[in-house]
Symmetry: C2
C-alpha cells in the first residue's frame, strides 16, 4: 500500500451556503480536485513531500478565487502584501516571507529563503531584494489584484473594518469569493512529511500586518516524528495559540492522536475568540481536517488513493 498522503486547503470561513452559486462551487471543486490529483500523482512517482507541497501551493496561488498570490486580498492601501512559509519534516528546515509585494509565487520565494539563504524569515522590502538577486519571477502590484478583491477592499475601508477574506460580517458584492489562505501537507513514498501555507491575509489590514501564515509554529509546522500542519483562519488568534506547533506538542508530549490533537489545538484558538481550521497528516499517515467555521475548502487523498473534495461538513 502506498505511503503517500496529501491534503490541500483553500481556506476556512463562514461561507454562506445559500450565497455560493452552484457554478462557483463547481469551479472551486474542479480546482481543488485537479490540484490534489496532480500533487498525488507526483508523490506516487517519487517526488519528495517538500517539492509536492511547494508545487501544490503554487497552483493554489495561481487560482484567482483563493486568497494567495494572484487573487490575494488587499490591505488598507489597496495593495497586496503576501505571507508564506514552508517546512521540511525530514530536516526541520524552514523558510518564510512576510509582507512581500513582488513575488509571483510567494511560496517559491519562501522555499528559496529555506534553500538558498542562512535565514528562515524575511520581511518587507528585503523579500523583493532576495527575489531579484535570485532571479525568481517578480510581478507588479496589479498582478495580484482581481476586480472583486478591489471592491472588497473599498467596501471594507468604507466600513472601517479589517475583515477576513471569508468573513461574512459585511455585505460583500460576492460572498462566495471570500475564500481563504491556501496550504498543503503531504507524506511522500519515503515517509517524509512537509507543510506549506500562503496567503494575502485580511482585507483592509494595516500595512505590514503579518498573520500566522509566515510564522513557523503558528501557521505551518512539519516534523517527521509527529505531523505536518497547515492552518487557516484569523491569524492573530493562531499566533497567540502557536497552533501548528501545539498539534505537534500534543502528539509528542501528550501522546494524543492526530485528530484529538488537532481538535484540541483548534479549541484553544476558539477559547480566545478565533475561528478557522487546519489540515494535518501524521507520521502514521492519518489525516485530520478540523475547522470551527461553516466550511473549509479542502481536498485529500488517503490510503485508498482516491481524490476527495469537500467544502462543508457534508
Amino acid at each position: 500500500m502506498s505511503r503517500c498522503r496529501l491534503v490541500i486547503h483553500g481556506g476556512a470561513g463562514v461561507i454562506d451556503r445559500a450565497s455560493l452559486t452552484a457554478e462557483r462551487e463547481a469551479e472551486f471543486r474542479r480546482a481543488l480536485h485537479a490540484i490534489a490529483a496532480d500533487a498525488y500523482a507526483r508523490l506516487q512517482t517519487g517526488a519528495t513531500a517538500i517539492d509536492v507541497v511547494e508545487n501544490a501551493v503554487m497552483a493554489l496561488e495561481d487560482f484567482p478565487l483563493f486568497n494567495a498570490g494572484h487573487g490575494a486580498v488587499l490591505n488598507a492601501d489597496g495593495v497586496a502584501e503576501l505571507d508564506a512559509s514552508i517546512m521540511d519534516g525530514a530536516t526541520r528546515a524552514a523558510g518564510a516571507i512576510a509582507a512581500a509585494r513582488t513575488p509571483r509565487n510567494p511560496i517559491q520565494l519562501a522555499r528559496a529563503v529555506m534553500d538558498r539563504t542562512e535565514h528562515v524569515l524575511l520581511a518587507g522590502a528585503g523579500t523583493d531584494r532576495l527575489a531579484a538577486e535570485l532571479g525568481l519571477p517578480q510581478v507588479g502590484p496589479d498582478y495580484y489584484v482581481t476586480a472583486e478583491r478591489a471592491e472588497q477592499q473599498r467596501l471594507a475601508a468604507r466600513l472601517g473594518k479589517v475583515t477576513l477574506d471569508h468573513d461574512a460580517v459585511f455585505n460583500a458584492p460576492s460572498p462566495s469569493d471570500k475564500t481563504g489562505t491556501v496550504g498543503a501537507v503531504a507524506r511522500d513514498a519515503h515517509g517524509h512529511l512537509a507543510a506549506a501555507t500562503s496567503t494575502g491575509g485580511m482585507t483592509n489590514k494595516r500595512v505590514g500586518r503579518c498573520g500566522d501564515t509566515p510564522i513557523i509554529g503558528a501557521g505551518t509546522w512539519a516534523d517527521d516524528a509527529t505531523c505536518a500542519v497547515s492552518a487557516t483562519g484569523h491569524g492573530e488568534y493562531f499566533i497567540r495559540s502557536a497552533l501548528a506547533y501545539d498539534v505537534h506538542a500534543r502528539i509528542a508530549y501528550g501522546a494524543q492522536l492526530l485528530m484529538d490533537a488537532g481538535r484540541a489545538a483548534l479549541a484553544r484558538v476558539q477559547s480566545l475568540g478565533g475561528t478557522g481550521g487546519l489540515i494535518a497528516i501524521d507520521a502514521g499517515g492519518n489525516i485530520a481536517m478540523p475547522y470551527n467555521s461553516e466550511g473549509m475548502y479542502r481536498a485529500w487523498v488517503g490510503s485508498d488513493g482516491a481524490v476527495n473534495v469537500a467544502i462543508y461538513a457534508n
Copy 2:
C-alpha cells in the same frame, strides 16, 4: 512571602572570558543590577508583570552595550533593523514588530501593537507608520549606531559573514561588546506572568531578516497556566524549534518541571546546531536560566528578594 519574581537577560554568547576586561564586566554588571533592582521594586509596589517587563526591556534597549535599541547591531546595508515582542500571560495578548527602522524603543511599539491595534505582528515600513500615527518616539538611523557596532558590521561584511552579535568567530575589535538580545520575564504580586524580548539581530544580516525575537512562540511566550519565557541565541534554530512554546508545551502536556523543560527545549535547538539560552519563570515562581553558550548576561530576583547578577556559570 512575596510572589514577585524577575529575570532579565542581555544575551547569551561565546564571550571569551579572557577578552572581557574587568572594567567592561563591571559596567555590564552594574547595568544588569540596576535594571533588575528597579524592575523588582516596581513589582513590589504592585506594578503588573506586563508593565514591568516592558519597562525593563526599555532600559536594556537604552543601554548601549546590549544589542537592542541604541547599540543594536547593523545589517548588510549598515542599518539597524529592530525586532521585539511582548506577551501577557494573563490574557495571552501579544504584540510584536519585525525589521523596524525608527522606534526609539522597539518594545514600546510592540506593546502598542498589542494594546492599540487588532493585530499581533507588524513588519517593515508598517511599523514606522504605526509609531507615527500613535505619536510614539521615533529616531533616525544614527540613533542606534555606536562606533563599535559600525566597525563590527564593516568587518563582518569584509569577511562575508553573518554573525551573531556575541559570536567570536571573527576577530572583532572589541569582543566584549558582542553581547546579545535582551529580554525580561516576571511574575507579579497577583501571580500573573509576562515576557518581553528585543534585539538588533545578527551583524551583517540580510535586509529584512527576522530572527526568533519577534515570533510569539519562538523568542517569547507567556501563559499564566505554565510559564513566561524569553530566548536569546541563533534565531533561525530557535524558530525551527518553536523554543519558547516548547517550554510551555513540555510543562502543559508532559508535566515536566520548568528547569527540565527549559533544558530539554534548548537541547532540541542544539541538536539542529543552534546555541543560545533562555530565561523563564513558571506559575509556581520557579526560575530557570539554561544556556549552551559560554555565558549569558543575566540578573534575577527569587523568593528571597535579593538581586543576583551573573555572566558565566560561576
